[in-house]
Symmetry: C2
Subunit: 356 residues, 2 copies
């Protein structure tokens, strides 16, 4: 099976093997070593000296954590939205009582920093800006550095980043760019099974935490901070995925982030070029197309659902369709984590056969 | 290493092996089969026809879910508390705005149904009762059936149960007893690594959900219900632990719950008898002592922390100390999941050697 969804992705053998290791006591010294070592490794990938916590949840749980730990009901926030996951970020904030100004850019395009600047000028009482770094639903990467330079550099606001399908695949400099909270999840560029989420938390985020009145318990960063000091998680963690993380980080840091990013950029371009060579068109503007997921328009006259089904059933190639209003209109090829050129050639070959 | 904490516990080899299986698409038909099959299996263990959802979190996440899905800020609840995890259940409710009447029984004793009846008589405006089935911190099992007959049979209130260290080890009849919400977690009697939580949700709980105003997103049961209908989880799940669950359920249901419960009762008694034979005393009243975890008083003159450390470092036996006010005063032996008599004999032998 050639699993090419935008996460989970095929996990390398050595990482899979570590998932079978026997349990250890998560409140003993054997876990303390694992926790400190993996946290330091994840921080290197985030390029951060901020606090960083490992939670047992999906990425959505980490998005909730980003919001409920820094905001109060009634706080005004701008949600920079370029797709389904951007909408989700705004929904979570609204549900917990924030006043959300939704700054929507058309699906397939990236967020425009100038428009963000204008919106922040028009709304001087905004407290925080929510941004999706890489929008999985449309295959678009926002220019987070440029957005951050507006949000932090010009307005000095709290910056909360959904980095779920970007971190460990697409360059991010958490501290240098001034991201206060960055949330991501294990089944993406980390080459791991799902089960863990990672969240970085700046000094500024801690200041916000002191004032933040949204209720939180499982996702309360203060509990993670308190327990981290004694080398423990506040609640029983997904230990097997922690074993996997330890092995994955060794691979990732041995390879070097430069090479990891270059690998993703190369495979992203290979995928886009290959898709175009088949006569298909990309859904997003190519200038902002993501290096972790390629969104492709379903050709006229083709049933998107049946197309994805035929790829799976007849060619063992697992792609994903569109979400929400994009259902049936696009299909998506995931190429995050460890993806070989051969795997992409197989996908392209299967697409060609199904469409012929 | 003889890991005898009250969860995680050593995982049998066939289950561990399944943790290494390659990823699948959690939004494809291959996951749908797994989701429906495991959910039905977990329901059999719960003895419920109610809805049941599998979440990626620790048991604490499921406790939060039990509360935020059924209550509103200002709702009055009685928290039946016999230890640290009972306190946690009340804390979560309070944090999300419930008015909590804490009905505390002394550590080491079980909750008294007559006192619960009296409290409910005195507080006719109570909406829900929170109960810990098995209190891991003190090694006590509450008589959930008797408590439920008061809460449901006499007062017809919402009954929220922390079944984290009981379900799949100690008999529970979710529907027959009238438990509206029961929360538990994978690293306990299920013989699995941590990472998944299970929560049952009755019709009555759904009625409460319609009125419940506590904010929730990641733990919103309505999302789980909506996605379950299309054979999917709302958010990316800990797929590897789902593989393990599938294998574990086959073992558990093949063995039969009668045998699983009997095995736990036998090993519980063996542990208590063995501890007493060493001249040690049980922390809880023996009549309410748990069959999943045995809490033992640290003998006078012995340093509880050093004792647990010596067992680990010199004998490869991993026990747990006391939590909160019980730190240093007790130690605890976990014997949930698949525990052999031989493993308990090794624990007893190691204790004897360290104390001699």
């Amino acid at each position: 099976m050639n699993l090419r969804t935008p996460g989970p992705i095929p996990v390398p053998d050595d990482i899979l093997e570590s998932m079978s290791w026997q349990m250890i006591n998560h409140r003993g010294p054997e876990y303390e070593d694992l926790l400190y070592r993996t946290t330091e490794g994840v921080k290197r990938v985030f390029e951060t000296e901020n606090d960083l916590y490992i939670m047992t949840s999906s990425g959505t749980g980490a998005m909730e954590a980003a919001i409920v730990n820094t905001l109060s009901p009634g706080d005004k926030v701008v949600n920079v939205c370029v797709g389904v996951f951007g909408e989700r970020f705004g929904e979570i904030a609204e549900l917990f009582g924030a006043e959300v100004i939704s700054l929507d850019f058309p699906y397939g395009s990236a967020a425009d920093p100038d428009t963000i600047r204008q919106t922040l000028n028009d709304n001087p009482d905004v407290k925080a800006v929510l941004v999706t770094h890489n929008e999985t639903s449309t295959g678009v990467t926002n220019d987070l550095q440029a957005i951050a330079s507006v949000v932090k550099g010009e307005f000095d606001l709290l910056l909360l980043v959904d980095g779920i399908s970007s971190v460990c695949s697409i360059p991010i400099s958490t501290d240098a760019w001034g991201c206060d909270v960055v949330a991501t999840a294990s089944q993406k560029g980390w080459m791991l099974p799902p089960g863990l989420a990672f969240i970085s938390f700046s000094e500024r985020a801690w200041e916000a935490h002191e004032q933040a009145k949204m209720p939180r318990y499982y996702f309360d960063m203060a509990m993670y901070k308190r327990y981290y000091k004694i080398g423990q998680p506040p609640y029983t963690p997904a230990i097997s995925v922690m074993f996997g993380l330890d092995v994955a980080l060794k691979r990732i840091l041995d390879e070097g982030m430069g090479s990891v990013y270059e690998r993703h950029a190369t495979i992203g371009k290979l995928t886009r070029d290959g898709v175009k060579d088949l006569g298909l068109t990309l859904f997003p503007d190519e200038s902002v197309a993501s290096d972790t997921v390629t969104a492709v328009n379903v050709p006229d006259g083709v049933d998107g659902g049946k197309f994805v089904g035929a790829l799976r059933d007849d060619h063992s190639v697992v792609l994903t369709g569109g979400q929400g209003s994009l259902a049936g209109k696009i299909f998506r090829i995931g190429h995050l984590g460890y993806t070989t050129e051969q795997e992409i050639y197989e996908v392209l070959s299967a697409i060609k056969q199904v469409l012929d």
